[in-house]
Amino acid sequence: MSALAHAPTGSGQPASPPPAARSGRHRLLPYLLLLPGAAWLFLFFVVPLVQLAAASLYDPSGSLSTGYTLTWAVGNYPTALQAYWPQFGRSFLFAGIALVLALLMGYPLAYAIAQKAGRWKNLLLVCVIAPMFTSFLVRTLAWKTILSDNGWLVGLLRDVHLLGPDGRLLATPIAVVLGLTYNFLPFLVLPLYASLERLDHRLLEAASDLYASPLRTFRRVTLPLSMPGLIAGTLLFFIPATGDYINAELLGTPNEYMIGNVIDSAFLVRLDYPQGAALSFLLMSAILAVVFGYLRRAGTEEVL
């Protein structure tokens, strides 16, 4: 996916098509070059995916000790959806809210680093990336301390009456959304930074020469030019955030559990493999549908 971040902002394809086939060997070359990557994808993505698809159609009355048979039990899907649609909806809701928050913070941040930071640029970039050197789990646990009921943040919010005297942040939807926003923010900022960094100043000057207001310059020049980064960033943020279960597990309560928590428990605790597989596929298709819809609207042949 990181290749997306470096998608050229200008005209992507070379204007002239490559010369028509000269010899068979030449024609095969691109495919030969693809072979290692394709083999990797086949072994570690397609094969497990096929297995998962098969597992989602196993007879739900099977069990570990008796084994499962493939009976094309498509009924697993509606059953799973019926039992766990609230967690499904919540995943998309939380990831969506987190995405909006991350955009509000991440865009100005990426812009500032790319355009205004001067000699501080590298240092600021390191600041964005540095937290990623510690484990995801540790960072989320750190938020538990920050949001703790007896911590300074909750104390402060209580003092200014934004929270009631018994109010809390930990174990609320707010904490989960904050956790998601924080944990995936760098995935949004870095691609955005990459496309904003190459923003051509002459275009901005031209816009102001033509009496465009700063707002209009942003809307007509900066924003369209940063679109590839923006799209790549939103996808890199939204997809893992939707499937995440650590934030809901550590910062939330059962009432904040997302679909990832359900899938985790289906596979590891309840040992209901058909249901776990069906839920995974439902999640994948829902995300794919959202992503394709989004890309179609955004209309970017260059990114995909």
Binding site: A20, A21, R27, L57, S63, L64, S65, G67, Q87, V269
Partner: protein, 394 residues
């Protein structure tokens, strides 16, 4: 015009890949028809014992579950003593962090009757019960472990899932009961108080381990967790559900409730005695409560999996750890309930204060109020676990 060669585009490639993946998926799922049964039988999966020639033993245990030397953490006095006494080399690894996770790790081998490379693994009651049910464990020879028969606590002798300790011998035991932080709230005596007292609202956690939480709830309704009906389970579960819906219960936890209780983010919880003793050493306001209705007794058990090739060596180690003096040495370090009778007298010599601690050496009154959860068959386990998971939100 020459033959049309279409350049490779990203979209074309993606469409092609997706298309072929879909085809493959259809074809592949036709070919791969389900999974084989994981159930093993004693005749079908025979293990060979090489203990006569190989003086080695691979031992998988939980972290911090073995005594270590105060000056040198790489030395394990009780285990080293076993090695020098018997000449059996022990490869000790702390690779059990979670029952479910560990099950995932060994499941494929054991389902296919292959070696896991481990001779002893330590797992909790319900997981031991599942493995016994699946036929994944070797039956132990009681005559080679006279100390176990002589010294094991009576309440651990005939557990519902393993009569006479044929497959599972407790390594350490513990209680699941209530705990509270005296700095945040007043004393708690009953499960009902935990689930309904208004001043605790949103400051309560319960364990995501179904047998511990549901066992306490069943007892608070006057039922016996070692022998209950589906209706009684549903009643207890409804009681839990009311507490979840009212916002009384904040979340369901594994071991991670401990720091929250110490900080006071949660005021009271369903917790494990070992954790609470540890917290109590640092802050005496954190207290463990054995509710009058009863308390759950669980154990982590030493198990010998199929295809483990050093069963006799394993039995020798199990026997060794049931010597009262060795058990006391271990208990002084790990602070769980010591399953060995006679260790209390030995502990007097090491640390009289620990010897008097009822959460390490429980008295008769406490043991008589403790219960072990019923053995569930696979259908029951799945049904109860699914219902419980639905209430706890996953």
């Amino acid at each position: 015009m020459r033959s049309a060669f279409r350049p490779l585009t990203r979209r074309g490639l993606l469409t092609g890949t997706l298309g072929s993946a879909a085809l493959l998926a259809a074809g592949g799922s036709l070919a791969g028809c389900g999974t084989p049964a994981a159930q093993q039988t004693e005749e079908g999966c025979v293990s060979e014992d090489l203990s006569g020639t190989e003086k080695t033993l691979a031992f998988s245990n939980w972290p911090q579950y073995m005594d270590v030397d105060e000056d040198d953490e790489s030395k394990r006095p009780s285990l080293d003593e076993f090695v020098s006494r018997t000449g059996i080399k022990v490869a000790y690894s702390e690779d059990v962090n979670d029952n479910n996770e560990f099950f995932g790790k060994v499941q494929n081998q054991l389902a296919a009757c292959q070696s896991t490379g481990r001779d002893i693994m330590v797992l909790t009651d319900w997981m031991a019960a599942r493995m016994i049910r699946l036929g994944w464990l070797q039956m132990l020879d009681g005559t080679k472990m006279p100390n176990v028969a002589a010294n094991i606590l009576p309440s651990l002798r005939n557990r519902p899932f393993d009569v006479d300790n044929q497959y599972a011998v407790p390594w350490q035991s513990g209680l699941a009961g209530l705990a509270y932080n005296g700095r945040v709230t007043g004393e708690i005596r009953t499960v009902d108080e935990l689930l309904t007292r208004p001043d605790l609202k949103g400051k309560v956690t319960a364990l995501s381990e179904m047998r511990d939480t549901m066992g306490l709830l069943l007892m608070s309704n006057g039922h016996n967790p070692a022998d209950f009906t589906a209706n009684q389970f549903d009643d207890a579960l409804n009681k839990l559900k009311r507490a979840v819906n009212s916002g009384q219960i904040r979340r369901f936890t594994g071991n991670d409730y401990a720091p929250d209780l110490a900080k006071g983010d949660i005021a009271a919880c369903v917790g494990w005695s070992g954790d609470i003793i540890q917290l109590g050493f640092e802050d005496e306001q954190i207290k463990f409560v054995v509710p009058d209705s009863g308390v759950m007794l669980w154990s982590d058990n030493m198990l010998v999996p199929n295809q483990a090739s050093h069963k006799t060596n394993a039995e020798e180690l199990i026997n060794y750890y049931y010597e009262p003096a060795v058990a006391a040495q271990l208990a002084a370090y790990v602070n769980y309930i010591c399953p060995v009778q006679g260790a209390q007298a030995e502990m007097e010599k090491i640390d009289p204060e620990l010897a008097a601690n009822p959460l390490i050496f429980p008295d008769e009154a406490m043991l008589s109020r403790s219960r072990v959860f019923m053995a569930l068959d696979e259908t029951q386990e799945r049904e109860y676990e699914a219902k419980f998971q639905q209430v706890i939100g996953a």
